[in-house]
Amino acid sequence: MNQNIMQDDSALGIEKSIEGRRAIRFNKIEDDSLSLDIPNNLLRKTKPYLPQLSELDAVRHFTRLSRRSFSLDTHFYPLGSCTMKYNPKINEDISMFEGFANLHPLAMDSCAQGTLEMLYDAEKILCEICGMDAMTLQPAAGAHSEFTGALVAKAYFEKKGESQRTEIIVPDSAHGTNPATAVMLGFKTVNIKSTSDGQIDLEALKAAISDKTAILMLTVPNTLGIFEFNIEEITRIAHEAGALVYMDGANFNALMGIIKPGKFGIDIMHLNMHKTFSTPHGGGGPGAGSIGVNKLLEEFLPYPRVIKENNEFKIKTDYPNSIGKIKAYFGNVGVLLKAYAYLLMHSKETLGETARNAIINANYLLKKLKKNYPAYCEDYCMHECVLTPSKELTSNKVKTLDIGKRLLDYGFHAPTVYFPLIVHEAIMIEPTETESKETMDLFVEAMEKIFEEGKTNPEIVKAAPHSLSVKRLDEVAAARKPNIKWDISDTAKQLGSATETKKEECAK
């Protein structure tokens, strides 16, 4: 076997495999009268092609892989729209307490009082913070919440006898999940333009809205990081037309503790626990969502729901007008526990302080950067700002993508790039409240260096990153001919005969 395989950081687990090597073992109950009485035609005939490693091999393999990824614990992550705030470590510990982790989803209510109390109380706190009347914590993520919310609206209109409402109005600055959700439920999306300062164009809204409109879907603050200043007028127009107003709460970190969306006429909103309430993103999930609604819509929320009767918490499933279940069991309870811990570690005052500092940090970066990276909007921003590369850079063909990649060399994760779609070459920056001024100053310094490089030595920016384990990757080749899993013949080819691992008969 190639001696370097164990040290090669991009070698696959299967390439490190040695026939017969083992880690975890299991015993079964020994009883002579028992046999594996499964008919031969139902039995597996070949062993699955999985790695054979020792525990040390496996631990070292994955630990080395972990060191080849940026993360919030190791790097500043100014990803706009993603709210990459610090994830308190206490939340990890408490969510793994045995009482929570070992609880079966079909356990009797009497065995689940602690978890049910948490769910019940978390719903109440979130209702307070959002100014909504009722809440469900079932959705697994933001997009899953949108789906749930839109389905609630659909059920509401059907009951009202207004099934002709088949359109969802979405601003052109919206997250991609918004139109994708609408279509999944058979709604037609109607896009409306934003004004040059990133606001919803009231005239365009009036022209688009009709008795066919079911939902106006907004993000507040919008994806340009600007509050919707005409929100009162916007919700009035929607309500007068008989439509519901849905708020994508992806950017709620800017409002928490300062403004309650229920106050300005939001009928349905969702929250992302993995953004606002600090649960870790885990490399792309699990997140957790939630839907808050006003009184009129409560009966349509998904079941099961947690109720409190005689000081006991119970799961209730009998809701005749409910949209049904959106997940097999309750929701991402393990994630909700972390969000609940975050909530209990805050008061009204400190939640507001969080939003205020998120806004101060974003405006600080906006102010420091906009000279060489012009802002898309003139206004002060909320929790994030959208910038663009200046002429000096674009005239040298330095693109936003290149700036993002070059930042990786300077030890910063790239901002969100090319979103929102309405901004050409968008650079979307959200520092969050947990980052310090010193970190942000270093980030500004890196952005200034990249600006200078882009003017005088653009090639170094365009070919970035230079310092990571790989250079730019060929995405086109991957899409044309995806290699999405290891293959016995490939591995055998690469490793020669030393790891002869043919599909062999299962030992009986």
């Binding site: 696959l12 299967i14 083992r22 880690a23 975890i24 299991f26 079964k28 109950i29 009883d31 499964i38 139902l42 039995l43 070949t46 062993k47 999985l50 790695p51 892989l65 990824s69 993360s71 919030l72 705030k85 610090y86 990890e92 793994m96 045995e98 989803p105 009797m108 065995c111 602690g114 109390e117 948490m118 697994a140 899953h144 059920a155 991609g176 994708a180 403004i259 106050k263 792309g284 699990p286 097999a328 309750f330 811990a341 570690m345 009204k348 906006l366 102010k367 990649k405 990786l408 994760h413 990571l468 790989v470 060929d474 995405e475 080749a477 991957a478 290699n483 999405i484 899993k485 290891w486």
Partner: protein
């Protein structure tokens, strides 16, 4: 809490921004919306108080010796799985959109896809979706898109939680029809399937092991579906696949499963892991993220997200699904689990499930009044009948002995009012099962 900047720094920054106070930054927001009152605790918990609060809360959940499965299985999570998945580098990373800075994470997803494909004997696995039920919803939606047909056949022996989720996934729309295939003796009634199956069928769903624990003859069902031009979607349990024939061997178009079975904690239902696999021919109708191996500009091996043109952030209203996140951390846990166990460990774990359950069945049937409901091949779960409705018995034995004897089926299947679904995983010992049978004996 968790804010880095001191008050002094905040003031310096406001000055640098060019405002005299924070309020100036939000002065265009209508004043009447600001500082709206709300009622939550005035006193935030400190870390030590939070730790105590959650210790107390977790102690309010009663610890039981658990014999309930029904789609979520008590598994032992190896320590190495926990320790690696807790590493901040994995835990606190974002979706690997910046491939060069996420090679480790992308490689773990590639290894996840590879191992799932190996276990399922399928050509394609995505990076995972929310859970088994939503994976089924996404698969059946894909079948409807591919065939442009609207009729979906599901078996009555399908996990009832999946069925309700599936219907919600179609927006409770009357455009689609869902028809039930009857079961006879706990397995799909082939006559009923033949009777319902026609040229308008988009998809036939079958689950094995099914909700009653029975191993179905998936080959026969799959062949019947294909004969009528329908697609076949299999629902399975990944742990069972170390022993029983995988979906690829019976020509499944889509195969989905609850990945919690691969060493994840029960967590009262989530976060879990939606395993989603399909044939290569359907790859462009597949929802969710997918990682491909590729090379960098110097020819070095690397990994990227691929075929993103299916996804919402590119295609918006033309996307295959609205799904944005996957359950990456859960997928990572499953990846480490399968790596640690390897082919032999997986087989051993599956056999432990099979034998422990067989021991439980043998001991239960030795008790007067308990009879076997369905005499079918099974993996790690079975249904037995009691002389009476076992719900009160369940309550009593939980209270007196701290043993959850299994899931009474009456609520889900009104015609099975005396039936109990019982499961014994690799976490159970002979002594545990002897405690269960002793408690039942005392109460029958």
């Amino acid at each position: 809490m968790f804010i880095s900047n001191t008050k002094k720094q905040q003031d310096e920054m406001l000055k640098e921004i060019g405002v005299s106070s924070f309020e100036e930054l939000i002065k265009k927001i209508p004043a009447k919306y600001l500082n709206s009152d709300f009622n939550i605790s005035e006193k935030p918990l400190t870390e030590v108080e939070a730790h105590r609060k959650f210790s107390e809360l977790s102690a309010k959940n009663q610890k039981v010796l658990n014999f309930v499965g029904a789609g979520a299985y008590e598994r032992y999570t190896p320590s190495a799985v926990k320790h690696i998945a807790e590493r901040g580098e994995f835990l606190t990373a974002y979706t690997p959109y910046q491939a060069e800075a996420s090679q480790g994470l992308l490689q773990t997803i590639y290894e996840y896809q590879s191992q799932i494909c190996a276990l399922f004997d399928m050509e394609v696995s995505n990076a995972s979706v929310y859970d088994g039920a939503s994976a089924l919803g996404e698969a059946v939606r894909a079948c409807a898109r591919i065939t442009s047909k609207k009729k979906i056949l599901y078996p009555k022996s399908l996990n009832p939680q999946y069925l309700t989720t599936l219907k919600t996934y179609f927006g409770n729309s009357s455009e689609y029809t869902f028809e039930a295939i009857e079961h006879s003796g706990g397995k799909i009634d082939i006559a009923s399937l033949k009777n319902k199956l026609d040229e308008n069928t988009a998809c036939v769903i079958a689950q094995s092991p099914n909700f009653f624990g029975t191993l179905e003859d998936m080959r026969e069902i799959s062949d019947l579906a294909h004969e009528k031009g329908a697609l076949f979607t299999a629902v399975t349990d990944p742990m069972s696949l170390a022993l029983v024939n995988p979906p690829g061997s019976y020509n499944a178009d889509f195969a989905v499963a609850e990945g919690q079975s691969l060493g994840l904690p029960l967590n009262y239902g989530g976060p879990y892991l939606g395993i989603f696999t399909c044939k290569k021919a359907h790859i462009r109708q597949m929802p969710g993220r997918l990682v491909s191996m590729t090379t960098d500009t110097e020819g070095k091996r690397g990994f990227v997200l691929t075929l993103q043109a299916r996804e919402q952030h590119i295609r918006r209203d033309k996307a295959a699904s609205n799904i944005c996140s996957n359950e990456a951390l859960c997928a990572l846990m499953a990846t480490i689990y399968m790596t640690l166990l390897g082919p032999e460990g997986m087989k051993e774990a599956a056999e432990a499930n099979a034998f422990n359950t067989r021991y439980a069945l043998k001991e239960l049937l030795a008790i007067d009044g308990i009879t076997l409901k369905f005499d079918n091949p099974f993996f790690n779960e079975f249904v037995v009948d009691f002389p009476n409705h076992p719900c009160e018995l369940r309550k009593k034995i939980i209270k007196e002995d701290g043993i959850d004897i299994g899931l009474p089926l009456k609520k889900l299947y009104p015609d099975m009012e005396n039936s109990l679904l019982v499961c014994a995983t690799e976490t159970k010992t002979k002594e545990d099962i002897d405690k269960l049978t002793a408690a039942l004996r005392r109460n029958l």
